[in-house]
């Protein structure tokens, strides 16, 4: 554990440093430090540093939120591929945001968060109830398919709403790739209440998740009030996923990849997994953002796209290692 913790902290520090220094215009560490300390630098450098600070902050927040959400969802469903993207939660949020923009005239980030929350909760309930009705042995497959069906439904509806509205399409297409760039760090404050509540619920869910892993009967025998505790853990996961999606758009697969990497490092105890995911999730998203900046210069590949491509490969690996699917 100590070496894993040290490694994770080092990875996080490295990611933050890379995010501040690297990009279309590389900066020297001394220049960045000067700008951060308030020493006067030229206007252009100051602007670059400010925008990099913003996207780094957003990346850190989003990465932490999605990774925690993934740990809780995988633990609660005892399903190795549970993740906000695969379960269709992101699509539900996207649909709700589009409906909000088109019909309710939502413009504020807080409005988007509330819409995303409603969409995420509805989809989570739908997918979970569908999965519960399917037999246990094929739960991962049923869950993925329920998620895929919900995603297709949401995409159809989004398509119907957007093909007739060029303005909404233009803002939506930039939102749906999932990007940490171009967001004001101040917007983090708008979602902070939801994020904080979700983080508290998720981080305190460790014992519940450990008990769930033992099965329902054992958990009850150990004195867990399973329904209440699971409900609060699930609420935490949904709050985190919805506020991350409202902030940066759908960033898929982070919630899948990070928990698996962490479990490989420190084993299955959920308290450790939650803590370490809170460090490695942000590092993953920030590094994805840096990678996206570097691979397509002078243009950029959005962080959400880097995460999806890396994550799709990771999911194939996870699926190949999961027993009982053959």
């Amino acid at each position: 554990m100590p070496w894993a913790l040290t490694g994770a902290l080092a990875a996080l520090a490295l990611a933050v440093a890379a995010s501040l220094l690297l990009g279309v215009q590389p900066l020297a560490p001394a220049t960045v430090l000067d700008a951060l300390r308030g020493v006067p630098v030229d206007a252009e450098t100051a602007a670059v540093v400010a925008s990099r600070v913003d996207r780094t902050v957003v990346g850190l927040v989003v990465g932490g939120a999605v990774a925690l959400s993934g740990v809780v969802l995988q633990g609660l469903t005892r399903n190795p591929i549970a993740e906000p993207g695969i379960l269709g939660l992101n699509s539900g949020a996207a649909l709700a945001v589009v409906v909000g923009i088109r019909f309710l005239g939502l413009t504020t980030v807080t409005g988007h968060v509330v819409a995303a929350l409603v969409g995420t909760v509805l989809v989570a309930a739908l997918v979970q109830s569908l999965t519960l009705m399917a037999p246990r042995a094929s739960a991962p497959v049923s869950m993925a398919l329920a998620g895929a069906a919900v995603m297709a439904l949401a995409q159809s509806l989004i398509g119907a709403l957007l093909v007739t509205d060029r303005g909404a399409l233009d803002s939506f297409r930039f939102w749906q790739v999932g990007s940490v760039a171009g967001r004001d760090a101040g917007q983090v404050l708008d979602v902070l209440p939801f994020l904080a509540a979700g983080a508290v619920l998720a981080l305190t869910a460790g014992p519940t998740l450990d008990a769930v892993a033992l099965g329902d009967d054992v958990a009850r025998g150990l004195g867990q009030r399973t329904v209440l505790q699971r409900g609060s853990a699930a609420a935490g996961a949904v709050l985190l996923a919805a506020s991350a999606t409202a902030l940066a758009g759908p960033i898929a697969f982070v919630g899948l990849v990070v928990p698996h990497v962490v479990r490989a490092l420190v084993g299955a105890g959920h308290r450790r997994v939650l803590g370490l995911s809170l460090l490695l999730g942000p590092a993953f998203v920030v590094l994805a953002d840096v990678t996206g900046r570097l691979v397509a210069q002078p243009s950029e590949v959005q962080a959400g796209i880097v995460c999806a491509v890396v994550g799709a490969l990771a999911l194939v690996l996870v699926v190949r290692r999961t027993k009982g699917l053959q």
């Binding site: 497959v141 919900v150 297709a152 398509g159 093909v163 959005q302 994550g311 053959q326």
Partner: protein, 342 residues
């Protein structure tokens, strides 16, 4: 009465039934085709339509018929048949109603290929079809590499399909962000699956490919039920198991790519048609019937999409998506899936 007589009689029932079903479906295709062609916002009478097809030039009516409604109806039939047959054949081959090319992500492979060719590279026509084919082949190769030992669809295959779909849609979204808003809007319409802007060139291309690919698929599909007995028994009965499987896969992938390159990934047509066809003609490899059902579904959905909500012309894929997703959810609920994902 000899055994042969009994067998003949027992076979006559299903054969009659499937002849009846095919007749009714053909009548539906023609009927819906006429509705789609003649009863749009601008109505053309049947005698006028016949005269226009005979070469007469009626102001207004000629343009509407020849440039808008007729090409759409013809394309709906061609694309619907391609998606329907492809879906039906895959579901029978993999012995899983969920294993249609659209649920597995092969259609998305084709659309990613087509979008990459059409938007950043600015290609049109045949190169787009080739690029769609390349995308579909790659997707299919990756997914089928996860097939189970007995050739059935596995849960693993479905999950790899889901992973692939997510990765590919990220590619598509990236292309959309880099395009101009006008290109993005065109691409968005196409990505929803749309018959809005079909040309006679495209119809000729898809017609040629349908004519080339559908008959061999129908012939090969007759062997598919034998594969269900298991590879050894099928081989013992004289079926080249690998050859049939590879042949069906190649034809299905090519059909999906050809149709997707022209009209976009019309959601769930392939997925919906197989189960409908199997209910219409139980116990037979209903690939031909699935093709007809596909034509009927796309024709009907396109009419609904164009005139269902007054003043708004939706892409046809929106309607089929809204129809198909609940069916997929319902199948998950009602169908106990075994470990093999069946």
């Amino acid at each position: 009465m000899t055994t042969a007589d009994v067998l003949t009689r027992a076979r006559r029932g299903p054969r009659r039934r499937s002849a009846l079903v095919v007749t009714i479906l053909l009548a539906l295709v023609v009927g819906l085709g006429l509705v789609r062609t003649l009863l749009g916002d601008y109505r053309v009478s049947l005698p006028d339509a016949v005269r226009i097809l005979g070469g007469a030039d009626l102001p207004g009516a000629s343009f509407v018929l020849m440039e808008s409604t007729l090409p759409r109806a013809v394309m709906a039939v061609l694309a619907g048949a391609a998606f329907g047959a492809a879906g039906g054949a895959f579901q029978v081959m993999l012995r899983n109603p969920l294993a249609s090319p659209d649920v597995l992500g092969i259609t998305l492979g084709a659309s990613a290929g087509a979008v990459v060719a059409a938007v950043p590279l600015g290609l049109r026509g045949a190169p787009v079809t080739l690029s769609a084919l390349a995308g579909a082949v790659l997707a299919a190769a990756l997914i089928l590499s996860q097939a189970g030992g007995r050739g059935g669809a596995t849960g693993r295959m479905v999950l790899v399909g889901v992973a692939l779909a997510a990765g590919l849609s990220a590619v598509v979204h990236w292309v959309l962000v880099r395009a101009s808003i006008y290109q993005a809007q065109d691409a968005m319409v196409w990505l929803s699956g749309s018959l809005n802007s079909v040309s006679w060139d495209e119809i000729a291309r898809l017609l040629a490919l349908d004519a080339l690919l559908l008959p061999p698929l129908l012939v090969l599909a007759r062997r598919l039920p034998v594969l269900g007995l298991g590879d050894d028994l099928a081989a013992g009965l004289g079926v080249h198991v690998t050859r049939v499987r590879v042949g069906v896969t190649v034809l299905v992938v090519a059909l999906v790519a050809a149709a997707t390159a022209v009209v976009g990934p019309i959601a769930f047509v392939g997925f919906l048609c197989g189960p409908i066809a199997r209910r219409l003609v139980p116990g037979r490899p209903a690939v031909g019937v699935a093709a007809l059902v596909g034509a009927v579904v796309v024709l009907g959905a396109d009419h609904l999409a164009a005139y269902g909500i007054p003043g708004t012309a939706l892409p046809v894929g929106v309607v089929t998506g809204l129809l198909g997703a609940p069916v997929l959810l319902w199948m998950l609920r009602s169908r106990p899936t075994t470990r093999e994902g069946r």
